[in-house]
């Protein structure tokens, strides 16, 4: 009987919390809202050490934290969320840690595709950015399956960067552009457009060619990049895309990043928005 009443109270509190959040987000959205937020999930291991958890547990906690933050972002109406989950540089860590992370990746991707997760709740489209061939076979297969399973969803987008660095992304884009141009030239299918950048010097690449071949081709540039744990560097994340992005580096470690921190991040963005917009219009010219 006591257990039932405790469950009832928890249900009511849960509902009240969701109502409060809804009201809070509505108030926040009176001001300009970011369309795309990117996160560098830094501090999982330091968190595990701080809480005396066993090795590897920090990343598990980090994942649970991610699901919660994603829910808040999508409830706020953010259309695109990108997360830096695993860099190409991270492959240089100890083999046990890398193996553990590959296994965790596969497990969590599979979990996300189950029923009653945020993927179904919000109709998320999942994308994986990076050199996916570098992943372990099971992780790569899981990633490709997730992309295929959610390709026809119409909700917001979650882009997960794995085996990713921005410089590698740019190199892959130029490789693709060059190969395409070369094939088109060989087939004689490259008609004359009257545009000197495309005609004549057939090896010439335009900015549009490059941007079309980046992993982020269908995605607007991020409005905010949040790197947790207080570190102030990009670590080879979205270098091309972040030229006008508001960079934030809150002190909490990733598993400690809370709703309060997210609200603060958006308030900071809203504060500088007029200056940003003027610059963005200048860049677009």
């Amino acid at each position: 009987m006591r257990k039932r009443s405790r469950k009832f109270v928890a249900k009511i509190l849960g509902r009240l919390w969701r109502l409060f959040r809804r009201w809070l987000f509505l108030t926040l959205s009176i001001g300009p809202m970011p369309e795309h937020i990117a996160f560098i999930l830094d501090g999982n291991r330091r968190y595990a050490k701080k809480k005396n958890l066993k090795m590897g547990a920090g990343h598990n906690v980090g994942f649970n934290s991610l699901v919660v933050v994603l829910r808040y972002c999508y409830e706020l109406g953010v259309e695109y969320v990108t997360v830096y989950a695993f860099s190409i540089d991270n492959f240089r860590r100890k083999p046990e840690e890398v193996k553990g992370l590959m296994a965790l990746m596969k497990e969590k991707i599979d979990e996300l595709l189950e029923e009653d997760t945020i993927v179904h709740k919000f109709g998320l489209r999942i994308k994986f950015w990076g050199n996916l061939d570098m992943l372990s076979e099971p992780a790569r297969v899981a990633a490709e399956r997730a992309m295929a399973a959610t390709a026809n969803n119409t909700g917001p987008v979650l882009s997960v960067c794995v085996a990713y660095t921005s410089t590698n992304e740019i190199v892959r884009a130029i490789k693709k552009s060059c190969s395409t141009k070369r094939d088109e030239t060989a087939e004689g299918s490259l008609g004359f457009t009257g545009d000197p950048l495309r005609d004549g010097a057939c090896g010439s690449i335009a900015v549009a060619d490059m941007e079309d071949n980046l992993d982020s081709a269908d995605c607007p540039d991020p409005d905010i990049i949040i790197r947790t744990s207080g570190e102030t560097r990009l670590s080879n994340f979205l270098l091309w895309q972040s030229t006008l992005t508001h960079l934030q580096n809150p002190i909490p470690l990733w598993p400690e990043f809370s709703l309060r921190n997210l609200i603060w991040a958006i308030l900071e963005y809203q504060r500088v928005y007029p200056y940003f917009e003027a610059r963005r219009r200048g860049l677009a010219k």
């Binding site: 490789k175 090896g203 010439s204 490059m210 080879n236 270098l239 091309w240 030229t243 508001h246 934030q248």
Partner: protein
């Protein structure tokens, strides 16, 4: 070097006064950097977006750059400063273009400190230009697409004028703006960023020491673990 105009506005002065004060700060920073053994400095003087500013301000800046280069050439030679200019020089007035070539040429053998000045510069255009150069090599059969690496791009960037220091260790942005604004996008992949609310003309020795101390306290891991 952000904040010259806002510094001037706060004092009821025209923006030209802000830029002149900014130049004095730059001179001081170059001097301190040389004294403290910093081997390379890159400064963002004028971005490709800045061409949209009022004509009077743009003309003033171009004249300021010319006067600074003319007056400082002697000092560059005395102090062993190697000067390199990056950015789209074709947009600059012809007299400035000529002066830039002369200064770069006359200082190329100096070895005390390298100063790269970015004028009419855009990080995205720089990367695109590098990619176009590489694409030309592919078209000419000098390089296969599959063999393109990050080093090829680094070598084609304008900052390769000083190949010993391709990537900055520390990037300082003044005036409280928290973003890169199209500056050294490729090169700052692992750069430690330091943001300060101080306007550039007010940035002094104490602020510089604060930035460097902050840098010294950072733990740079480059994606790996430090045990």
């Amino acid at each position: 070097m952000d904040g010259n105009s806002r510094w001037a506005k706060a004092r009821g002065l025209p923006s030209s006064a802000g830029h002149e004060a900014g130049y004095r700060t730059l001179k001081k920073m170059v001097e301190l950097s040389g004294q403290w053994g910093i081997r390379a400095l890159t400064v963002f003087a004028f971005s490709s977006e800045n061409w949209t500013r009022p004509k009077m301000e743009v003309d003033f800046l171009m004249t300021l750059f010319e006067n600074v280069l003319k007056e400082s050439l002697g000092e560059f030679l005395r102090e062993g400063i190697r000067v390199c200019i990056i950015g789209d020089s074709s947009e600059l007035p012809p007299s400035l273009q000529k002066l830039v070539k002369e200064v770069v040429d006359k200082t190329k053998n100096n070895t005390q400190i390298d100063v790269i000045v970015a004028i009419s510069y855009s990080g995205r255009k720089e990367i695109t230009q590098a990619c176009q150069n590489i694409a030309r090599k592919v078209k000419d059969g000098l390089l296969e697409p599959e063999d393109i690496t990050e080093s090829h791009i680094t070598e084609e960037l304008e900052t390769n004028c000083i190949p010993e220091f391709p990537n900055p260790d520390l990037l300082i942005r003044t005036s409280g703006e928290l973003r890169l604004s199209n500056f050294l996008l490729w090169q700052s992949a692992y750069t430690e960023l330091f943001f300060t609310n101080t306007y550039w003309p007010d940035f002094g020795e104490a602020d510089y020491i604060e930035a460097l101390t902050s840098f010294q306290n950072r733990q740079r891991r480059f994606g790996q673990r430090i045990n």
